[in-house]
């Protein structure tokens, strides 16, 4: 019988592997465009969320609508914006959307921070990739946390924006950290400050050159 042959297990394993992997490969190919589009859309959504007037938390826009809006309204980064995406109205920059990223508690946190034309006032913040503890660190994606940033102003000095203990009094340069997520909060504070500092510096260099 064929089953008793010495080579049978090898051939059998080979055939099963070939069959299952070809199905998986086909399936992955079939969905790869979608996976890529999802990744891109998450980024574009975050950019739209921080630029004023481009999105509404309550609106139910489809992915395609958001993508078209991004393509139509948002300008790619150039030398003058120092890596930030820009929203331009009647020839002038209305707001910047600066990508930020760095190490979170478990995995990289990637997000976008929106800044007004004065280059000091924050319009909003949004995250498109994070893997913090659900219920604790992952609360950075919730409006309760993100809305705090609206209207905050970067101060001059070491820390442009600071995270304070929950319950303490805030000034116009600080927001409340998350309860129970000290690691996420301190790391996010570093990510934001590093990115903003670097951005301001690059903007400064750009101005000097011109």
């Amino acid at each position: 019988m064929i089953k008793e042959k010495k080579w049978f297990p090898v051939i059998y394993m080979f055939l099963v592997t070939a069959l299952l992997s070809s199905i998986v490969i086909g399936f992955t190919q079939f969905t790869s465009n979608r996976v890529e589009a999802n990744r891109k859309l998450a980024f574009e959504k975050a950019v739209l969320a921080v630029l004023p007037g481009l999105s509404d938390e309550k609106e139910k826009a489809t992915g395609l609508q958001l993508h078209l809006r991004f393509a139509e309204k948002v300008n790619e980064p150039d030398d003058y914006s120092a890596g930030a995406y820009t929203l331009i109205g009647s020839g002038k920059i209305i707001a910047y959307a600066l990508p930020i990223s760095g190490r979170g508690f478990w995995a990289p946190i990637k997000g976008i921070i929106g800044i007004e034309a004065d280059r000091k006032t924050i319009t909003a913040i949004a995250f498109y990739q994070q893997n913090e503890t659900p219920g604790l660190g992952a609360e950075i994606t919730k409006p309760e946390f993100r809305d705090q940033f609206k209207g905050k102003v970067m101060r001059m000095g070491e820390k442009l924006l600071s995270f304070e203990r929950p319950g303490t009094k805030l000034d116009k340069n600080s927001v409340h950290a998350l309860t129970g997520a000290t690691q996420t909060s301190t790391r996010l504070e570093t990510i934001i400050n590093d990115a903003l500092k670097k951005w301001q510096q690059q903007l400064g260099d750009g101005l000097d050159r011109n």
Binding site: M13, V35, N38, W106, A107, N131, P134, G135, G180
Partner: protein, 209 residues
């Protein structure tokens, strides 16, 4: 197999999977994911659906191939089959529910190493017809799911005052000081121990009477 024996075999499989031989509180298998994904009910539900899909189909597939698979390489074949279904789930989530995919992080992929899946394929799928193996996988996965959902419900309500993300009246109010520890990793250990304790006590009392 005649009708009646089949019927009683089915019943046995169902009762064993859900209760007498429950994978979580009786066999203490699949604890890694039990501890990891139970701090929010929604994540738990998706994880359970993924496990139900993987476990029932891989047990059935192992059973279909059981007469053909050489004994000495059967575990390789089982792992391959399990990995196949898990990758399908993972890709589906990435393509159609990216938020959930990032919430669950690596845990979907880790279903491959979930001992319940391998355990059922080895202990049952290998030596029983496909329909029974499917049923066995399904009800073991359901047995896992209901324990996980109990744990997740307590953790989310006590720890965050919400259920499936919606505020629960008393627990989200100012009179309830949220037990943050419940949504952190230690909370999973406490809840798992309590649930195991309660279910095992009920079981042993029933056996005595």
């Amino acid at each position: 197999m005649n009708g009646r024996i089949m019927q009683s075999a089915k019943q046995k499989v169902i009762v064993e999977g859900l209760w007498h031989n429950n994978p979580v509180f009786r066999q203490v298998l699949g604890i890694c994911s039990t501890l990891a994904v139970t701090n929010l009910v929604l994540n738990t539900v998706v994880m359970c659906v993924a496990l139900i899909f993987t476990l029932s189909l891989s047990a059935a597939s192992v059973s279909v191939l059981r007469k053909l698979t050489p004994r000495n390489i059967r575990m390789m074949v089982e792992t391959l089959i399990i990995a196949f279904y898990v990758i399908i789930v993972d890709v589906l989530l990435k393509a159609y529910w990216p938020e959930m995919s990032s919430n669950l992080g690596p845990y979907v992929g880790l279903i491959i190493t979930n001992c319940i899946v391998m355990g059922r394929c080895e202990a049952y799928g290998n030596s029983n017809p496909p329909s029974l193996a499917f049923l066995d996988g399904l009800f073991n996965a359901l047995g896992y799911s209901f324990v996980l959902l109990i744990i997740a419900t307590f953790r989310e309500v006590l720890g965050m005052g919400t259920f499936l993300g919606f505020s629960v009246p008393y627990f989200s109010g100012p009179n309830w000081d949220k037990w943050i520890v419940m949504v952190m990793p230690p909370g999973a250990f406490f809840m798992l121990a309590v649930v195991t304790w309660i279910f095992r006590s009920v079981q042993s009392r029933k056996e005595q009477s």
